[in-house]
Amino acid sequence: MRTSGLATFTLGGVHPPGRKAPAAGLAIEPMPLVSRYLVSLVQHCGAPAAPLVKKGDRVAEGQRIGAVDKGLGAHVHSPVTGTVAGLARAFHPVLGPVPAVAIERDPEAAPAAWTPRDWEHLTSAELLAVVREAGIVGMGGAGFPTHVKLSPPPELSVDTLILNGAECESYLAADHRLMLERAPGVVQGARVLLAILGVPRCVIGVENNKKDAVEALHQAVSEAGEGGRVRVQPLAVKYPQGSEKQLIEAVTGRRVPAGGLPAHVGCVVQNVGTAFAAYEAAALGKPCYERVLTVAGRGVGRPANLLCKVGVCLMDIADHLGGVGEDAVKCVLGGPMMGFAVPGLEAVVGKTTSGVLFLDAWESPDAPYGPCIRCGRCLEACPMGLSPNEMSIYAERRKYEGTPRFGLWECFECGSCAFVCPAKRPLVQFIRASKARLKSGGCKL
């Protein structure tokens, strides 16, 4: 692999077409307000948030409307001031229909004003509570509740916070623009997270196709006087650099053991967007209800990086950006390597929506798949050193029990194998089917 001497992970990896050019050069613009918001109560890993409002209730922008008080989860807040139109269902790309709150925006209401406040005196526990109250989740796409990630098991000692600015997925430029245009906020977010974790250093890993963002972060770090604690680390461009385990290795050389947590090698990883949300929560008291996302692909009128509130439906976004072209065949939430294709534009933006891609048939070709020719390309591409070819052959024959010895449970479904497969085999699909079957069969091996 060409790495041009920059830090990167060692095993496998691929080079999907970047296709970042249109969006990477576009400044973040606000998505105009719409009349109706459908706010999903499942924008995180874990149980749905319990609704705190009912039909007819008046809600204010930033007011908590869903709560998770027990177990894994994150609170949900209203993106606008308005009236609850009812409890409804929103489409979740993995779970299908999930509980949601529909809100009619009050067109008269003024936008919420968040006044800066001093957070420096707050203790680690107080700041952690702020993050939890703000409903912050991992904004790279996984949606793992941030306050949980910031509370590693006490028996493990953490020495490094890593901010993930790799943004290795094609098309996406949301993190790029955030780091470029809101670099001071990202660095302040790093300071908040460092204060919570009580660790001595933070490394911001950024793939080197975003040189201007690296530069902006450098400047923000020195302006904040944090040169001693916060380091910006340019990384080689290689997918899946933004995967947690791969990023940790790229930045620290440490490898998280199979079945282990980043904290087992002394690390906590947070997305740069998450850090920015932590900054807004701590310094402005603003909960997490909007984010930057990239809209791109040849199937949409124009590409954009939108500052978009949660609950906006994809149809509204498409309409705002000049509509969906005749040729668009697929709508993907997230990046093209790991994102989810949605069946309809009723789907809504959530805290984890890093991109909305409208792809035409050239960008996302439909290829019938053939038998495995054992070329071994997937073995070279796999960043975990697994054998996707073997797993796919077992799964194709419905012999799911044969898959774990080839690494089924270590697979995080980055799609590198399927990307390179010349037979176009849906390797991720086979792997997911194996996991689902073995889990439901109760025979996790």
Binding site: K245, M338, A341, G370, R374, K424, V428
Partner: protein, 332 residues
């Protein structure tokens, strides 16, 4: 627009441009220069052999897929490539019946009955050659054609029409060197002006083709290098006059070694995928080749060497698995 149907489907939503058909037809194409040279050396009948071999292979694949109720996959080029490779391991003077029966055997028994592309144990072209060697022993060992050498390559004694390896085995080193030993002889052998199977005569053209496949990353260096190196080493060590007196170049440039090393032993389906296993596989192919050439009854051993190593390939594949990212968490 709300009634519009969007394609769903599991990620990744972008795919690399490489296809099975692209790989197969690329290999097919880089083999063609040798075919044209052979047509020049041995006459246009070589093209007829290739036509029958490729045509039969493609038709046999279609018939078997229809018979077995599988989707047709003729455009992927794998059957055509098998047909071409089969013709490449035939002597140029055989009748047109041989590529017909050979391709039929290669596709029907060697490939489709094992489950089709990806599931055959043996390299189909080579297992068919083994079949033909049993079924048509005379044709497969005597129908060599001595090409007419261009003036600049003509040596003094260029008369024997046996293959270089047959000469080496049956008439000894002196007879071999008389024809292929001098500068003229070595050049003739390297460029491809010598008797031999249809597709094996020119180490130059075959190596260029192999290097192209390496550059395109269609094959990796491990198997060809290990196979050629082990052949050369053993040829040198176990020489006719005692240890370390052999003629490694004679064994590398003659016979099917270069064809086998770049185009047969590297067959994805029948060779292992991991570098270490590939090195063992290639070295085994070379060692068995030399065992057969030096101690066996045949002058040439590449075909059987690769077929025997094909049997070992699943074991090698299972023995060398990719290195995992990290060992499991130690529970204490």
């Amino acid at each position: 627009m709300s009634g519009r149907l969007w394609k769903v489907g599991v990620a990744p939503h972008v795919r690399d441009g490489a296809t099975v058909a692209g790989i197969m037809w690329t290999v097919f194409a880089v083999l063609l220069p040798q075919l044209f040279l052979s047509a020049y050396l041995f006459g246009p009948r070589v093209l007829a052999l290739a036509g029958v071999g490729v045509g039969t292979a493609v038709l046999a694949e279609a018939a078997m897929q229809r018979f077995l109720g599988k989707p047709l996959s003729l455009t992927d080029g794998s059957a055509a490539l098998t047909g071409l490779l089969l013709v490449y391991v035939l002597p140029p003077g055989v009748s047109l019946a041989l590529p017909f029966w050979g391709s039929l055997f290669a596709i029907c028994l060697g490939k489709q009955l094992f489950g089709g592309l990806g599931f055959n144990f043996f390299n189909p072209a080579l297992i068919a050659r083994a079949f033909l060697a049993v079924g048509f022993p005379v044709a497969m060992t005597t129908t060599w054609i001595m090409p007419e050498l261009p003036a600049f390559l003509a040596g003094p004694d260029a008369v024997a029409s046996a293959t270089p390896l047959a000469l080496l085995k049956h008439s000894g080193v002196a007879a071999y060197l008389a024809q292929y030993g001098g500068l003229h002889g070595a050049w003739a052998s390297f460029l491809g002006f010598k008797p031999g199977s249809v597709g094996e005569t020119s180490p130059l053209l075959l190596t260029l083709g192999g290097l192209y496949l390496l550059w395109r990353r269609i094959i990796s260096w491990h198997i060809p290098v290990a196979m050629i190196a082990s052949t050369a080493l053993l040829a040198w060590v176990f020489g006719p006059e005692g240890l370390c007196t052999g003629e490694p170049l004679a064994h590398v440039l003659s016979g099917g070694l270069i064809l086998g090393a770049f185009f047969m032993a590297t067959d994805y389906v029948t060779s292992p995928s991991q570098p270490l296993a590939k090195l063992v596989f290639g070295a085994g192919c070379g060692a068995l080749t030399m065992l057969i050439r030096l101690k066996g009854g045949y002058p040439e051993g590449v075909c059987y060497a690769i077929l025997l190593m094909n049997c070992v390939s699943p074991v090698l594949e299972d023995w060398v698995r990719p290195r995992r990212f990290a060992p499991p968490l130690k529970k204490d």
